[in-house]
């Protein structure tokens, strides 16, 4: 039977070591832990490369994927990250298979078996994320599991692209596989592969190829582990695995113990529910006591009839991206990190909905929570030896923009435009600016695909792909810039386009310690253009940026500025659209930014002259960009004085502020105002 959400959440944590494992620890000689941990990491790196080279869909090719090694119990031992969230939840289907199918006479598990799954109710993230799992046997003994996971950009749902905004229940979301045995004797069963490919009739080629890519990666890893066990013995492998988990847990506890006891809170808001712009709240109370952390999401808005939900285990895995890439980045990526952590996610909130709820948009629905994790951890770590890891939030827009239809080669496709996805801005840090276009919010190592490569694969021209001016949050240290891309439908008569990008009304990315959040992201489309004519003529005024496109209007056509969030719609040949990836949050007071850094920002067009003057309050010669230090000091002093004179005392502020409230329509799905409690029942058909 399907595991309940609390059980799945508990499965993220490590088990107690068995007597046998404790005994096996003694087989490790001095130096073995260091040597063989590194060896496992090399196995992972190799399997990742195999995966990357064999697959075809755009996130796979961007490296937004994971390969992982798990103990026979299912506990995470090591992973190539990649997508940290998939490493964490990779444990759950394995634990399910181990608990349910291992001894079932109709299923069982033997050497060469291949399991496959995608259903979040069995431990996945959302319908799109397909995971292959292989048991690793040596001399008849189960010594490990390996997996390989990546987002599949088509699921056979009610809209192209696997993440339908119109989904009301899980029954609108296409293929949802509980863990099944999809192959035996190291081979996929072609009847079951055909079933999956048939369900993905919008993009069958991608499904057929990527399934094999997953399997090849997991099997390469499996064969390396078998070789290791043959060389060192099964018990040595058991000891090594347990030692890795113990090291991670002890390291995590040691670090947490050093931090200041207290309660840290943060709130952020998302502006999409289903197909509408509506406000919902994410709230985190992070309690640090002794060597433990408790993550409490009470105060988060209730579930809705939209697909913007996530299961508690998925929420924890998404928040863990920060833990594994910042706070505990130097410790093994293993289950041990979760030993000292507990999670409270109230039933009925958007992070713990009824099992019938649609949740295909679970990953983007967690971006607010990811911001909250980063902000609370940064406030916790500032007064600690980990101050250098303090940062504002990553862009966290999750640039999910999808194109579908038939490409220029006559092949049906449905896939992400993964450039924006993999070029969000990093949060500014306590000692440096955020990295520009650093990667993907779920996968710091993700890389934007090559533009010519994707132009060859898809039916569009990529006119512009560059860092976006004024896109990082302003502050003493600037949030990393996001990017802007301009596309035009090419080769074919039409393509379908939709966008799950949030942040046209309010961003869910936050600055830190007075650093500003990054700007909102408008949606820009130009239809019935004369782009091809202009290109043929070799016109010199073809725009090289989004603001230029919209302000100069050198291209003729019907211009529309609306939300960046778009329902699936038809774009005709020559129609253009802009995609923004979000910049990161700023750190500290903008008036404390080194004026020379502001001039540098101007030179590389990271900011506009307007921002230099009005936000950073820097005085310079607009022709030579020479800084006037004295005037800048005076200009900034004046602004500080103005701040004090225009502001209110707390009591005066409260009196005015408490009278305000957003319009009722905006609060349709928010829950009770302002605390986000459930106000109605959701009836799902």
């Amino acid at each position: 039977m399907r595991p309940d959400p609390q059980k799945l959440l508990q499965w993220i944590k490590p088990n107690k070591p068995t007597e046998k494992e404790l005994e096996c620890l003694k087989l490790l000689q001095p130096g073995d832990y260091e040597i063989y941990t590194e060896k496992l990491n090399n196995f992972l790196l190799e399997s990742k490369e195999v995966f990357l080279k064999l697959g075809v869909s755009s996130m796979l090719r961007s490296g937004d994927l994971v390969t992982g090694i798990y103990a026979p119990s299912g506990e995470m031992v090591a992973a190539w990250c990649g997508t940290y969230l998939h490493a964490v939840i990779g444990q759950l289907p394995i634990k399910y298979v181990a608990e349910t199918w291992l001894k079932d006479p109709t299923v069982g598990c033997k050497d060469g078996d291949i399991f496959y799954c995608s259903d979040p109710l069995y431990g996945g993230i959302h319908n799109c994320d397909q995971i292959v799992v292989m048991p690793v046997f040596n001399e008849g003994e189960l010594i490990a599991w390996t997996n390989a996971a990546v987002h599949q950009p088509e699921t056979g749902a009610c809209e192209p692209g696997g993440m339908p905004l119109t989904a009301k229940t899980r029954h609108d979301e296409g293929m949802l596989l509980s863990p099944i045995k999809i192959g035996e004797n190291f081979r996929l069963r072609e009847d079951l592969v055909e079933m999956c490919v048939n369900l993905m009739s919008r993009a069958p080629r991608m499904q057929a190829i990527d399934m094999r890519a997953r399997l090849s990666a997991a099997d390469r890893l499996r064969s390396r582990l078998v070789a290791l066990a043959k060389e060192k013995g099964n018990d040595f492998v058991k000891g090594l695995f347990r030692r890795i988990i113990i090291e991670a847990e002890e390291g995590t506890r040691r670090r947490i113990r050093e931090w200041n006891d207290g309660t840290y809170r943060a709130v952020t808001f998302m502006d999409i529910v289903g197909e509408k712009h509506r406000l919902v709240r994410n709230f985190l109370t992070l309690k640090k006591e002794g060597d433990t952390l408790t993550w409490d999401f009470t105060g988060t808005s209730p579930e809705t009839d939209s697909p913007q939900h996530c299961m508690p285990h998925g929420l924890a895995a998404n928040v863990a991206i920060h833990l594994m890439s910042y706070s505990f980045a130097d410790l093994p990526v293993s289950a041990g990190i979760f030993g000292p952590m507990d999670w409270k996610v109230p039933e009925g909130c958007m992070f713990n909905p009824h099992f019938e709820a649609a949740q295909s948009n679970s990953a983007p629905s967690c971006h607010g929570a990811m911001t909250l994790g980063t902000i609370c951890m940064s406030k916790l770590m500032f007064d600690s030896p980990q101050r250098e890891l303090v940062a504002a939030a990553i862009g966290n827009t999750g640039v999910g923009v999808l194109i579908s239809g038939v490409n220029q080669w006559g092949v049906p496709v449905a896939d992400f435009l993964a450039f924006g996805l993999n070029t969000e801005g990093h949060g500014a840090r306590s000692d440096m600016d955020g990295v520009d276009a650093f990667g993907f919010s779920h996968c710091p190592s993700g890389r934007a695909p090559d533009v010519e490569d994707i132009e060859n694969e898809f039916q569009f021209l990529n006119l512009v792909a560059k860092l976006s001016r004024d896109s990082g949050g302003f502050g003493k240290f600037r949030g990393g810039s996001g990017t802007e891309t301009i596309y035009a439908v090419n080769y074919v008569d039409y393509a379908l386009y939709n966008s799950h990008v949030k942040g046209s009304k309010i961003r869910n990315c936050l600055g830190l310690f007075g650093g500003y959040p990054p700007p909102t992201l408008p949606g820009i489309e130009v239809k019935h253009t004369n782009l091809w004519e202009k290109m043929k003529r070799g016109d010199k005024d073809i725009p090289t940026g989004a603001v230029q496109l919209i302000t100069e209007r050198a291209i003729k056509g019907d211009y529309e500025i609306s939300s960046i969030f778009k329902k699936v719609h038809v774009m005709e040949n020559g129609d253009m659209w802009v995609v923004f990836s979000g910049g990161g949050g700023g750190y500290g007071d903008a008036l404390e930014r080194d004026p020379r850094a502001v001039i540098e920002d101007l030179k590389k067009q990271a900011i506009s002259p307007w921002t230099a003057e009005n936000v950073y309050r820097v005085v310079y010669d607009p022709k030579t960009l020479d800084l006037d230090e004295e005037e800048t000091i005076a200009f900034r002093r004046k602004e500080r004085e103005d701040r004090i004179s225009r502001s209110l005392t707390w009591d005066e502020f409260q009196k005015e502020w408490s009278k305000l409230r957003p319009p009722e329509e905006v609060l349709e799905y928010y829950g009770s105002w302002p605390d986000g409690k459930k106000t109605r029942e959701i009836i799902r058909m």
């Binding site: 207290g262 709130v267 009304k505 309010i506 008036l591 004090i644």
Partner: protein, 115 residues
């Protein structure tokens, strides 16, 4: 530094006096057992084009929708440094973001100081 401990970029806690203080000018803000924001000057930035510019006109721009969001800025009353800000829907309560266990903190650092 004496008995002060830097807790954020702009805030210290004076452990003996149990007070939040500005890290830049030393101004004493409020009891360390309270939300430090109550000891700050507060400014509600309703027109967000004053930060995000007005390159685009209309309902969708680079600035949040004013019906959805305002920036609440917290300044040190002594030197005017921006201690923190919050992007909030109009009227949404301000967050009590850092609630330290002051007794634990005193135990941890005052004891170490005396040694």
């Amino acid at each position: 530094m004496g008995t002060k401990r830097q807790i954020t970029e702009y805030l210290d806690i004076d452990l003996e006096k149990e007070l939040w203080c500005c890290n830049r000018c030393g101004r004493e803000l409020i009891s360390a057992r309270e939300n430090y924001k109550k000891g700050c000057r507060v400014y509600v930035r309703k027109d967000l084009t004053t930060i995000y510019g007005s390159a685009l006109k209309g309902p969708f721009t680079f600035a949040p929708d004013p019906e959805w969001a305002m920036l609440v800025e917290f300044y040190c009353p002594g030197c005017g440094v921006m201690v923190e800000n919050e992007m909030l829907p109009p009227g949404h309560p301000v967050t009590y973001d850092i609630e330290l266990d002051i007794d634990e903190l005193k135990k941890k650092y005052l004891k170490a100081e005396k040694k």
